[in-house]
Structures are given as C-alpha cells and as structure tokens.
Amino acid sequence: MVGWPLGPYSVSQRDRLVEYRMTKPEILAPAGNMFKLQTAVRYGADAVYLAGRRFGLRQAADNFTIEQIHQAVAFAHENGTRVYVVLNGFLFDEELEDLPPFLAELESAGVDAVIVSDLGVLTTVRRHSNLRVHLSTQASALNSHAARFWRDMGVTRLVLGREVSIAEAAIIKREAGVEVELFGHGAMCMAFSGNCTISNYTAGRDSNRGGCIQSCRFKYRLSDERGGAGPQDHYLSSKDLQGIAQVPSFVEAGIDSLKIEGRMKSPLYVATTVRAYARARDAAWQRQADFGVEDLFRELNTMSHRDYTSGNLVDKARSDSIYLHDERHEPNSHDVIGHILEATENHLAIHLRNPLETGDRLEMLVPGQDIRVLATDTLKDLTGQRVQRVSSNRVVLLPADSIARAGFLLRKPKSKIDAQKDDISHDTDDAALIQHHRAHAG
C-alpha cells in the first residue's frame, strides 16, 4: 500500500483499512428508461438498476414494461452489464399478492438481483424466487448489527444508508460478511431514507411507494411561533453528493459497488457520471497516482446540479451540506444538445434537444476517451438542405465521424468563455480533498 494515496481517513481508521481487501467497485448506474440504460451500458456501467411499472419508488419515471425488461437484460448481458430491478416500495398486502408473477418474469428475463427495502417484500421474493436480493438504501441500514440481521434474512448486498462513511462501510462489510454498496454521486434525501413521509401527509402521495413531491426542496420560513415572520431559505434541502475524489477510498476500503443516483435524470447525466466515475475507478484500481480528479470535477460541473458535497463519505455531513441556494451559483457549464441517432459512413444524424447553429462547439462524449469536438460547419436537415440553425426536436445531419456511434451524447458550452476555460472552477466543498489528493499524487 506504500505510495498509494490513501483516502482521507483518520489515522486509526486508516490503520484498520489496511486489513481490507481492495476491491474494484462496480459502477452502478440509473436506468430510468431503455435509452438511459443503453447509455449507461455504452459509457461503461458495470451494472444498472431499473424499475418495472410497479413496486418501485419513481412512479414518474418512464420505467420498463415486462417485455422491455427482457430486452434490457438481453442488451445489458450481451455487453457484460448486470441488471438490478428495484422493488423498494413499502408495499401493502394487496400489492404483495401481485408480486410473485412479476418475480417469475424477472427470473425468466435473467435479472441479476432485485433491490428491496421492505421485509415483507424480501420474504415474498425469497419464498417465490431464487433471485439475489440487495437491500435498498430505503431501509437505512447503518451498522454491522443491522447488516447481520439483513444477511440472515437472505440479503447478499446492502445499499447502505447515505449516512454511512466509506470507513464505516468497510467495517460493516468485514463484520457482516456481505457485499456493500454506497452512493457515490447524485441527489440526496436530507432525511434518513425511508423515514420521510412529508408527501404522504401534505400531498396524499406516498413518498415510499413512488410519490415523493420533494418537499425538502421547498423554501421555508423559520420562526419561533406558528406562522411568525422569519428568514426564508431551503433549510431542508441537501446539496448533491459528489464523491469523485473519494473513489480511491472506495477501492481501498473494498466497497463492492459505487452507485450513481438518478433514474429521473437525463441521458447526458448518465453518460457524464458513468464515464467520470468509471475513469476514476479504473485509475484507482491501477493505482495511478494521479487519476485526473480535476478534469473529472470539471466534467461533473458540466451538468446541471445543486452545489456539491462529499456528504458522509468521509465524515459526518456538516452544516455546509445544506443547499442554501446561492443565486450566484452557475448550475452547469454546458447544455445538452442531443444524441446520435445514426452514424454511417456518410453522415451523423443527431436528434436535437437544444438548438444548434453552424460554428457551434459541439462536444461528443466518447466512452473511455477524451471529449471529441465535432465539426459543425455543415449542417443539413433530413431533406439534405443546408441550414444555418436547427431548432430543438429536430434531426440534423452532420458529416461522418469515424469515432462516433449511435447513442453517443452531445453537448455544447454555454458560453465561449467556458469553451476555452482551462482552469477548474469547481463549486464543491471538496477543495481540501483536491489539495489532499494533490499532496499524495506526487
């Protein structure tokens, strides 16, 4: 372990960590629909998680029909990617009755595991199938005693609560002898997961069966008395988790899976996060002293996001993990442009989500490689006519590119300044961690 940049643990924790076996954590990506699943696979996810039409926590996501689950598993497995299906709602008895036929379909499709949070669901899965079971973060498993309990109930992996640090997760893994999965990136509940029922009472929508209205993101006024005057802010809102600097610690601590949140997020988000975390993970696994964390910070800042925090990955989340909106915050440096529908020897056909003009800097996200800039001197519409500008929800034809493939995501800088920026301007509380990394990288 000499020379390897240890994660930012305390000395005592660091001493204990050398006992753990390094693990190459899988990069686990969200798949809100088929295109996002394909994107995750394309950009290097080792596993994806998705939901059917019922039993999950994202009723507003597209989700998958049974037929689509079969197709998704086939596609993922062809590309060496595992598929986990979320069944993490807190279900009532009548819903449980509908579960066994769905489980049979999942087994038939060949899914690699299901993710549950409810002991009734877990019991039903164990009774009616041979599916591997992962425990959802919704169950808020926070300690090794809970881990042993869930292990004894038949769970093979715990998606630990977001309150658990990397060091604590390593101890839980060792003590309980189960696989552990930690969130490495994405939006975070402020509350213990599964312990928030604001939506249930205020909106009549069960937050733990897919109806969360995200009340924690609302603006509130604090006062000493009911209805009193007081300052307004987003007191209950958490910054987004961003753990790119901690990826070497994931490897070193033996964390089995690094999870990216966001089945409702865009394909560009999926591509950007998977690509960044897979790069960091691969570099850490190969013990590269410098895995380009600054470039990856910059990559993760290209997307729209709340201010970043390392959450509880290193130490308990502090007051600076609250997302008190800073109006000066620039949420993203780049806009999505679209994705490639078709890449032939003659052209690239691109489906536009935002307008594109000739001369725009068009950046293509290439799996496992650097960003590639595509020429936009010649734009054509589907009739072959040259055009200067193409609006959103249109298809534009560009000259062929040897690297480009169908499904690749495209973006452009929001300003020419961003396009030329060399320095990082990351809005994260991890500056100290970057310094730490720099110090060890040499």
């Binding site: 002991l119 213990f192 007051s319």
Partner: protein, 395 residues
C-alpha cells in the same frame, strides 16, 4: 380474544413533572422514558430516567426505556454502555426501531423484553410476522399509515397464529414526518447553541403550512402541521385490535393538556372535547385512521399518453415531423410498407395510418424498415414529435 372497550394507555412526556401528571390518567399502564442520549427527542438525563422509572414502578406501571435512534456501530456501542450504567433492573422493556439496535439489544440484553417500532413502512402482514419471528418482541408499534381495517386483519392473523404480541398505535401527539441526523436550524442561526434543544416552525413559503421543527443533539425532526387526534376513537381502536394507545405529550403544555384529557376520558362531552382540542394545534387530523389512498394520484405523475402498455408492440418514437412531407421515426421494431400504425401524440391525439412509403436518411426507398434506427415515412396529420408509434394487429 376479547377486546376491552378502550385500549390501555402508554404515555411519554418532556419532563418528570409531565410524566407524574400523565401517569395519573385513568387507564395508563405504561410510561416511556426518553433519555437525551437514547431517544430521538428525549429530555431526561440519567438521574431523571432512573428516578422516573423507580417512581413509576412504585405506582405499578410498566417502565419502558426508549432507544429509537438510527445509529452507527460506534453510537450503538456508546448507547449500550449508557444503558448498562442506567441499571436495567429499573426497566421492564426496551423500545427500539433500528434493526441493528434491535439485534444488539437481543444479543446484549437477552433477558430484557423488547418492543419494536414498526412505524416507518411495514404495511404488510408478511413483513410484520417476519419481524416478530426475528426479534420476538412483546410489543410492536404500528405505523399510523395503517388504517383500522388493515389493523383489524393484522390482529386477526396474528391471533390465528397464537402470537401474543401486543399492538400499539399513536392516538395523540405530533406526527413525525422527517428525521435527519443533520442539524438544520443552528447552522442558520449563529446565535443558537448547536447542542441546545431548539424549537421552531418551518412555514412552507408556497403553501403556508406551518410545520413544527425540533433540533437537538440527535438531529432535526419535522412534524406534520396538524396534530394527530384519535382520542374520540379509542373504542374503535380497541375494537380493531390495538392493545395500547400512545399519548405522546412531550410537545404540549402538559399541565394544561393532561387535565383536559382526563376530563374528556372521564366524560367525553362536547365541552370537554372543545377544551381538550384548545390545547392542541389549531388543526387536527385523524391521519390514515379511516383509509389510506396515497397511491391513487400516481397515474397523474407522468404523461399517460406516452406510457407504453404492457402488451403493446412499440415500433418506435417520432423524432421529427415536416408537414405534408414526412415523419422521421426512431424505431425499435421492424415495420413494412402497408403496415397499419397507430400514433399517440404527447398531447393525446391518436392517429391511425398505413405506411405508404419508407426511406432511409439518404433518400433510398425500402419496402421494409428491417433494422432498428432512423427511418422516414409519409406524413400523418396531428402527429407531433415525441409521439409513440405502435403496430396495430389487423383482424
């Protein structure tokens, strides 16, 4: 099993004085003791817990030590040490929620009676039975999201299997709707002490709802703006099979509320009811006591026109339209000339049309679009970008 007309009562309060007053209520059989370092919103120190336990015991009450925090390994070890220092002989039971804490208590204090809080989730009999088998609690505290008809069926099923576990349901108190270990008030009020017990109201700016908020050493807790008030329904609660109704008095002015509660329990008149309500929040709720329909709005969460039916043959999605010229489709299934397709637009328009011609992007004509990808077909009116395209079976 014969059900009494009212359940027995379990009480908790903020201070020793509150507890002393509360356990005088007729029907109280149990007192919950909430230590600052063990309970989510505990206000008693070690001496106060010991004293209260001893006093309650002398009055013939059951004493329950509440350890309902969600905890890390280190915190569990610290809590275990504290409990040992409290002298377990003072208590008849320990109440836990975290399955890790429950496991720890089962292993470390095997002789102690366990009470298991299942208030978060746990809405089905299969799971509840499994919790009982795993931890053998003498009591389970059921979620207030469970309506009485469901509780009745749970009770019947447990009775049929000779389970002797008692069931508890919150009948009076604030409804906890949000629990985080993070401190959310003291960081924005620099003059406050982060180790203090802080109470505020958080008013949602858009909706004008006033949620009680508490920050203490354990984190931050938010409660529903309406207090749960099921006192008029105690007979129904008992009839459903609830053995113990909990009165959580710690958020109220107990010296005013308890006499009013006592009067109402003794004589449930309109006058006493009004007096009792006056000591609670301006708005009260029965919670999900009667029914729980919190999944009924799910159909509104996404555009139903774009939801692909389970058995449908989705050919693809329209990615561009050019009026009177073409539709561009991104396909997932092959299709051919003369196929009858159905187009469902995001706005809900439905159009059916035959495929008159098929071209690839370079303009070559095809009889069939065999491979999945980008294809152009004849324009169809009222079809917009984003429309789903299905193959129709022809009879």
């Amino acid at each position: 099993m014969t059900r009494t007309t009212r359940p027995s009562f379990s009480i908790t309060g903020r201070t020793q004085a509150d507890l002393r007053q509360g356990w005088e209520l007729d029907g109280v059989t149990e007192v919950l003791l909430e230590h600052t370092d063990l309970a989510r919103i505990g206000n008693l120190d070690t001496n106060q817990v010991r004293q209260s336990a001893a006093e309650a015991r002398n009055r013939g009450l059951k004493t329950v030590l509440v350890w309902d925090l969600l905890l890390s390994d280190r915190e569990i070890a610290d809590g275990g040490a504290l409990i040992r220092s409290l002298d377990l002989s003072h208590f008849d039971a320990i109440r836990v929620q975290d399955p890790g804490v429950a496991t720890y208590v089962r292993d470390a204090f095997p002789m102690m009676e366990r009470q298991l809080v299942l208030e978060t989730g746990n809405h089905n009999l299969v799971g509840i039975r499994r919790w009982i088998e795993a931890f053998e609690p003498k009591r389970i505290v059921l979620s207030n999201e469970l309506p009485m008809p469901l509780i009745r069926s749970i009770r019947e099923a447990l009775d049929a299997n000779d389970h002797t576990v008692t069931l508890e349901y919150l009948a009076l108190g604030r409804l906890l709707i949000f629990y985080t270990p993070r401190k959310l008030i003291s960081p924005v009020e620099p003059e406050t002490d982060e180790w203090a017990f802080i109470e505020r109201f958080a008013t949602s700016v858009d909706e004008g709802k006033h949620f009680p908020l508490v920050e203490n050493t354990q984190g931050t807790f938010m409660f529903y703006e309406k207090d749960l008030f099921l006192v008029p329904y105690l007979e129904e609660i008992a009839a459903a099979g609830i053995d113990v109704a909990r009165f959580d008095l710690k958020h109220f002015e107990a010296d005013e509320l308890i006499p009013a509660l006592e009067s109402y329990l003794r004589e449930p008149s309109a006058e006493h009811l009004g007096r009792l309500k006056s000591h609670l929040a301006p708005r009260l709720t029965r919670g999900f006591f009667k029914s729980n329909r919190t999944d009924k709005q799910f159909v509104k969460l996404k555009n139903q026109h774009l939801v692909v039916p389970e058995q449908a043959q989705l050919v693809g999605t329209v990615v561009e339209t050019r009026k009177k010229k073409y539709l561009a489709l991104m396909t997932e299934l092959p299709f051919g000339q003369n196929d009858l397709l159905e187009f469902i637009a995001p706005e809900g328009h439905v159009a059916k049309a035959r495929v008159e011609w098929i071209r690839d992007v370079t303009g070559n004509e095809h009889d069939r679009a065999e491979s999945t990808g980008l294809w152009m077909v004849n324009h169809v009116g009222k079809v917009s970008a984003g429309s789903r395209v299905y193959r129709l079976r022809e009879s």
